[in-house]
């Protein structure tokens, strides 16, 4: 079997008969042709399957690392490429005979890696390309001399390093949850799942309490795909809160569910940070979706508590008999009221779960001034809550309003008898209108029909009201069925007084 010796120091262009087999790694090298198989064809081989007919060249590491492999015999000058060597040889003006590169058929060569532990050391796993084997040797068994400046990646091959620096940091995708992606497709997939996963994972927590089983069936598939991304704190905070909202639709079931939800919401850090200092953010819901929910709701809760100051200031300026906020009366009131945790949810958002003494919080809120700009929805909620307070049945009694007497006004075709009750209200239409408002908002206040004794208006949309078994006696006055309260009695009164001069 013909063997060829390639000496690192001198290369013979003509075939040399001498066959030297050397096994040392530092000396000349060894070439062993593969067992002959089918006749070689000139075609590109599949990767990993070298041409069986090819000549296996095992270059020493020194050879691989060497940069000037091609050496001119005449002057011993070294070149990196064979073509460069040929060009150089022309300059020597060789006689014709010596000019030929004799006989040496370009035999297909494959190269093995000199590193014994490497997979490619085996001739059957030889690589077909000299450059390829060099790069492989550098990458795997070489020192990584090239380092990217932006990131910490190191490379042994200069071309790899160059290619990397070109793209490092140029295209990056960042999800809201903070995860970084270099590929667009993986980013998009993640982003779709990210929010869904965060919500569903929170939903799953709440699901056993209130959601119908169908929800869980839908939720389960969500949990299996990509691992949930690190949900940011705000999302976690608001998710339990947000998930409570869907139950609003099943209004009849709400009260028990609402009571259950606070324990679920407890893990979330109770005071929504934005609430006290920045009610301003109310309308500008720029943070994550979850956060904005909590902001809005928290701030609406805040506004509840600031209404005293608002109206106090309003009416101080208008009417001579100013009114001052009386925090102490809260305490009186609140003592009379049974306080399920759900109450506290609305009273003070900071004590969302635990029934801490509200008055303390109340006083701190009364001093704060509500923000300039509220959304229309927030205003409606505020109005409903303000109006929902009944400030004394005695007030209305004093007016001797009599529901039962029919009105003298025209009846409209759709409204029939129902509207008759309104006649009596005169200016005191505030209460039921605001009750309607709260009903419309789905707030479903405690008012029992009997307590309000409102006209049939209230009977219709029973779905508006949360079915509350007992009449909550807010004032501790033990009021029986009385005429409804003149809630914002100040307002119409204001109109009256302002207009009547």
């Amino acid at each position: 079997m013909p063997m060829e010796v390639e000496n690192s120091s001198a290369m013979t262009a003509s075939d040399s008969g001498s066959a030297e087999v050397s096994g040392s790694s530092s000396g000349p090298l060894l070439s062993v042709p593969l067992p002959t198989g089918p006749p070689a064809k000139k075609k590109r081989n599949l990767p990993g399957m070298p041409d069986p007919d090819a000549e296996v060249i095992a270059l020493s590491p020194k050879t691989l690392l060497a940069t000037n492999r091609f050496v001119c015999k005449i002057c011993n000058k070294g070149f990196q490429r064979d073509q460069n060597l040929q060009l150089h040889r022309r300059g020597h003006n060789l006689p014709w005979k010596l000019r030929q590169r004799t006989g040496k058929e370009p035999r297909k060569r494959v190269y093995v890696c000199p590193e014994a532990t490497c997979v490619h050391h085996d001739p059957s796993r030889a690589l077909g390309d000299l450059t390829g084997i060099k790069k492989h040797f550098f990458r795997k068994h070489g020192e990584k001399k090239w380092k990217c400046e932006k990131c910490s990646k190191r490379y042994a091959v200069q071309s790899d390093w160059k290619a990397h620096t070109k793209t490092c940091g140029t295209r990056e995708y960042r999800c809201d949850c903070g995860t970084l992606f270099s590929r667009r497709d993986s980013f998009i997939t993640h982003r779709a799942y990210c929010d869904a996963l965060a919500e569903e994972s929170a939903k799953v927590v709440v699901a056993p309490l209130s959601q119908p089983p169908k929800e869980e069936r839908i939720l389960v598939p969500v949990m299996s795909p990509p691992p949930p991304p690190p949900a940011c704190g705000g999302v976690e905070l608001a998710m339990p809160l947000q998930q409570v909202v869907p139950t609003e639709e099943e209004e009849a079931e709400n009260p028990p569910n609402v009571l259950q939800h606070p324990p679920v919401a407890a893990p979330a850090p109770p005071p929504p940070p934005p609430a006290p200092p920045t009610p301003i953010n109310r309308t500008r819901n720029t943070t994550t979706t979850g956060k904005s929910t909590s902001t809005l709701s928290a701030s609406s809760g805040t506004t509840t508590s600031t209404t005293p100051s608002l109206f106090a200031s309003l009416f101080t300026s208008v009417t001579p008999t100013g009114s001052t906020p009386q925090p102490t009366s809260y305490t009186d009131l609140i003592r009379h009221v049974p306080e399920p945790p759900a109450l506290c949810l609305s009273i003070s958002p900071t004590t969302s779960v635990f029934p801490q003494p509200p008055p303390t919080d109340r006083r701190s809120f009364t001093s704060s001034i509500p923000t300039q700009h509220m959304s229309a929805t927030a205003l409606l909620q505020k109005a409903a809550q303000m109006g929902a307070t009944s400030s004394g049945s005695s007030f209305l009694k004093g007016f001797g309003l009599d529901i039962s007497s029919p009105s003298a006004c025209e009846q409209h075709q759709d409204q029939g008898i129902r509207e008759s009750g309104f006649q009596q209200w005169g200016q005191q239409l505030e209460p039921d209108s605001v009750l309607l408002l709260s009903a419309g908002l789905g707030l479903g206040l405690h008012y029992d029909n009997s307590a309000m004794n409102l006209p049939d208006l209230m009977m219709g949309p029973s779905s508006f009201f949360v079915a509350k078994p007992a009449t909550v006696d807010f004032l501790g006055l033990g009021m029986g069925p009385t005429v409804g309260s003149p809630i914002g009695g100040g307002f119409p009164g204001l109109i009256q007084s302002g207009s009547a001069d």
């Binding site: 309308t283 500008r284 609406s300 509207e419 009256q496």
Partner: protein, 427 residues
Amino acid sequence: MTQEENGSSTSTTSSSPLQSFSQMPLSPPPASTAPPPTSPLPSAYLQNLRSDERGLYLIHFLLNCANHVSAGRLDHVSTLLQHISLLSSPDGDAMQRLSAAFSVALARRSLRPFPGLYQTLVGSGCSASAPAVAAARHDFVNLCPFLRLAFAASNQAIVEAMEGEKLVHVIDLGASDPTQWIELLQLLAARPEGPPHLRLTAVSESKEVTNQISVCLTKEAERLDVPFQFNAILTDLNSLDVEKLKVKTGEALAVSSVLSLHLLLGNSNCQIEDFLNALWNLAPKIMVVTEQESNHNSPVLTERFVEALNYYAAVFDCLELTAPRNSVERARVERVLLGEEIKNMIACEGAERKERHERVESWGKRMEAAGFGRVPMGYYGLLHVRRMLQGLNCDGYRVREEKGCFFVCWQDRALFSVSAWRCRRFD
């Protein structure tokens, strides 16, 4: 969190200062013969109000006015409207614009006892032409993603139902916007088994609208190489003859109704039943219904008023955050689209009152009574819509799934519901 207050007594919180109001000397009004207040509140005072205080005043004025309107006390109505006009403005903040829209509706409503005045000033029907409304609807679709999300959800349901079908016939009831069908064409073209032959029948009252839709869609279908055929039926839904829809045997039928089905509730209960029965007889594979999620069909004016106030407050809030105050499109949406809806539902009655929105539960009952079974909107539909939502990069918009229906929400208020139904035969 405010929705928590279902079970809570919010009243305890702010009763204290209002209690003090009860001690304020107020001139007690006699029962029904209160002298009408004549002069308005000092305007100087009103100009100095902060926006939230002004908003609260507006709400109280509006509610009181609604009560007076329903009771027929025009003089009180007039005074209150004066107050409202001082505070509201179609170019102000959300609450001001909302009040402007509602006060116009209330003013119109208060004329109803005087048929002559009503006829002359209010006339019959909408004061805006159908193309103007369609343009406003188009602006709305572009400004706020609600309808686009609803379209996406509907399309997803349709595509899922039409899996494997070669011949798809879609009927668009109350067509006004080609956006939804452009997306459907794209979805169908991207099907792994290739696009089906798509026929679209658009039911609309305006030829201009259907022409515009036709042009847009044919162009898109050519571009996507989807075999497409467009038919227009120029009629309003009330007088739609189902035969005209020309549903052929062998084609898979999908019916889509976007904010249109409620128009049929006006005449009598029977009409919607007949209509749904007729649709059922066509045996559609899927029927997707998008409706406003709010009950604006109560026979009692004040209830309707309050529901509408809450609903449109959310929509106006959304517009406030989405578009600048001087935006022409926003003004068009508020005045032409939403304003007309509000005017119709507050000022009109009987057959004229077309905007009878109802919640999806009521629609569900109707559909089930007509023989339709609910098709849950699907997990992938929800993901698709959520992805779209993230792509839109808007804040405050939510999509929620509940009992198989999608709710497109602003903050926590559901504004539109999307539900899907199939023809249930012999179940």
